[in-house]
């Protein structure tokens, strides 16, 4: 058994990325819930329509989808690190 604080650097990367995943999911949920029930709870007569769709739906689901896609792309390109999956001794 080796030194305990010598955690595999790849695990630190993995932990960080898993936390980013939780963060994204939380943001996704808040956006989705906020627009759907924030705007959708008004009486139907007060809805406005964007591209034919009710505004709450447009923002919550259509814009929400585009936003989260953009965020996933951003996060993957900027924060995600490439790591080898095979053990290091094999790579050398």
């Amino acid at each position: 058994m080796e030194n305990k604080d010598k955690t595999d650097w790849r695990f630190k990367v993995a932990n960080r990325e898993a936390l980013i995943g939780c963060g994204l999911a939380l943001l996704n949920f808040v956006w989705w819930f906020g627009f759907a029930y924030g705007m959708g709870s008004r009486p139907v007569e007060e809805y406005s329509y964007i591209l034919g769709m009710p505004d709450w739906f447009f923002y919550s689901c259509v814009v929400g989808f585009l936003l989260i896609t953009a965020l996933v792309i951003f996060v993957v390109k900027v924060f995600f690190k490439e790591v080898p999956f095979e053990e290091e001794e094999e790579l050398r």
Binding site: V13, I20, F57, V62, I68
Partner: protein, 491 residues
């Protein structure tokens, strides 16, 4: 018989069949020692596109293409809102299991989810419980999809149920048996692409037939204004209930064995990164399109009372017959790609986790090969026979397959990866609590309405988390050292 619809469907089946066979030939070249890894995990070399597509296609089943849009037809925009909670699966599963799962699975040389749990928890009961849960629940889920597939073929072509089932079964069985996981993944990629294109064509067709989105929405409002609110046609689709689907069809999907096993099948972190992006886009497009089609179909063909028929009927109504045939290959693709993944998963559980663990650990390569092909084929044939006249027990078990498996596996997988104090006592308690409380709450909700107004899956996922933590801490063990295990050395 409606030949203009049948011919494109048949062509689709034949193409899938040959792609499956073709991709299996690559596996045939692999040398003996790697046979199991190749047959059950595609040699861990999936690229980003195939990985994303096989995840989406495995996940997207009859319910996303027939049941879901059918409910959207009845409930209106509230159900589309609910369905959009599934976008999260496109990135969440891969981000959470992510690199750690890929690294640990390679270290343990795990080929199945049960392998992973066995190495992490080093416990017989964990292996038996998890293998049993996978075999029982996924076997029933597979049979249910199989029945759905045959019903679809029956309703589209006018063939008898038995003939439809036979055609459906043969086409899936042959390529899965011969080709293993790689054939499943590659055909999933093609099927996923068919789903994306099919839903786009159909959505366009529906919007044109309805005279534009504004027109359709006005028709919906004049029929029942509730259809365009988030609260469902009767106004009783609650916030808590809809939000709880974020667990069932969103984050909880991490616990589904058929999805989790894909997270150990990819080649490199580059493929994982690509799959994250492609998977999110594809899941979003499919879910948004299919459920919008369901809602938009309502003013065009009013009065459909069987939800599953909405998509076939609307496709045949708004598209020329030959194009409808091509588009209807999409739900068929969704069903096939789910069935094939479940079949190979159940087969891997039987061969790797039961046969090689308990029955014949020293089996020769030849015997393993024979067992793998044999078990896959026999399982397929048993499902076929059961689907001819589905027993009630099967239908019953299928009710728990999705949520029950999530409640059982989510914490043993996630906490096993990230919490070093997770131990076998926690895992066993969590699995038993998860499945047990799922079944109990299912009956309670059936009799009394939803407890706390949320979907059945919510409480079992919470309870199994609590059970996991409590039992892990009470049965104190020293922290698990993720570094100690070197390649191939199973604890």
């Amino acid at each position: 018989m409606n030949w203009e619809v049948i011919i494109p469907l048949l062509v689709f089946l034949v193409i899938i069949f040959f792609i499956g066979i073709w991709s299996s030939r690559k596996g045939a070249k692999v040398s003996g020692g790697d046979f199991l890894q190749d047959y059950f995990l595609g040699g861990r070399e999936l690229g980003g596109f195939v990985l994303a597509m096989t995840m989406v296609a495995t996940y997207g089943s009859a319910s996303s293409f027939l049941g879901g849009p059918g409910t959207a037809y009845t409930m209106g925009f509230g159900w589309v809102l609910l369905a959009m909670s599934q976008i999260v699966t496109g990135y969440f599963v891969l981000m959470i299991l992510g690199k750690k799962f890929a690294i640990m699975a390679r270290r343990y040389q795990a080929l199945t989810l049960v392998d992973f749990l066995k190495a992490r928890y080093n416990s017989g009961p964990v292996v038996i419980l998890s293998a049993a849960a996978i075999i029982i629940f996924l076997f029933s889920a597979m049979a249910a999809q199989w029945i759905g597939g045959a019903r679809l073929v029956e309703s589209l072509t006018g063939m008898s149920y038995h003939a439809a089932l036979f055609i459906f079964a043969i086409s899936v069985l042959v390529y899965v048996t011969i080709g293993g996981f790689r054939a499943v993944a590659v055909t999933d990629a093609v099927q996923g692409a068919v789903m994306v294109v099919g839903t786009m064509v159909l959505l366009a067709g529906v919007i044109i037939a309805g005279g534009g989105v504004t027109n359709i929405i006005n028709d919906l409002i004049s029929e029942n204004p509730n259809l365009v609110t988030p609260f469902g046609a009767d106004g009783n689709l609650g916030k808590a209930y809809v939000s709880s689907f974020w667990i069932l069809v969103g984050v909880g999907v991490v616990g589904l064995p058929q999805i989790a096993v894909r997270s150990m099948s990819y080649k490199s972190s580059k493929s994982m990164h690509r799959a994250l992006i492609i998977g999110t886009v594809v899941t979003g497009v499919i879910m948004l399109n299919m459920h919008l089609i369901g809602v938009f179909a309502r003013p065009i063909i009013p009065g459909i009372d069987v939800g599953d028929k909405v998509i076939p009927l609307i496709a045949m109504d708004v598209l020329p017959a030959w194009l409808a045939g091509i588009v209807l290959a999409a739900p068929m693709a969704a069903i096939m790609s789910t069935v094939d993944s479940l079949l190979i998963l159940v087969s891997s559980t039987v061969v790797k986790d039961v046969y090689l663990n308990y029955i014949k650990p020293d089996a020769s390569i030849k015997a393993i090969k024979r067992a793998s092909f044999g078990v896959t084929a026999v399982l397929g044939i048993i499902v076929y026979i059961l689907a001819l006249d589905p027993p009630d027990l099967l239908i019953f078990l299928n009710l728990f397959a999705f949520g029950g498996l999530e409640a059982a596996f989510i914490w043993p997988i996630v906490l096993g990866l990230y919490w070093s104090y997770a131990n076998k006592y926690g895992a066993i308690a969590s699995m038993i609590t998860g499945i047990g409380s799922y079944i109990a709450i299912h009956f309670y909700n059936g009799a009394n309405g939803n407890l706390f107004g949320v979907h059945t899956v919510t409480l079992p996922v919470l309870l199994s988390f609590i059970a996991f933590i409590i039992f892990s801490l009470i049965m104190k063990q020293e922290a698990y050292n993720y570094e100690r295990i070197k390649k191939g050395e199973i604890a």
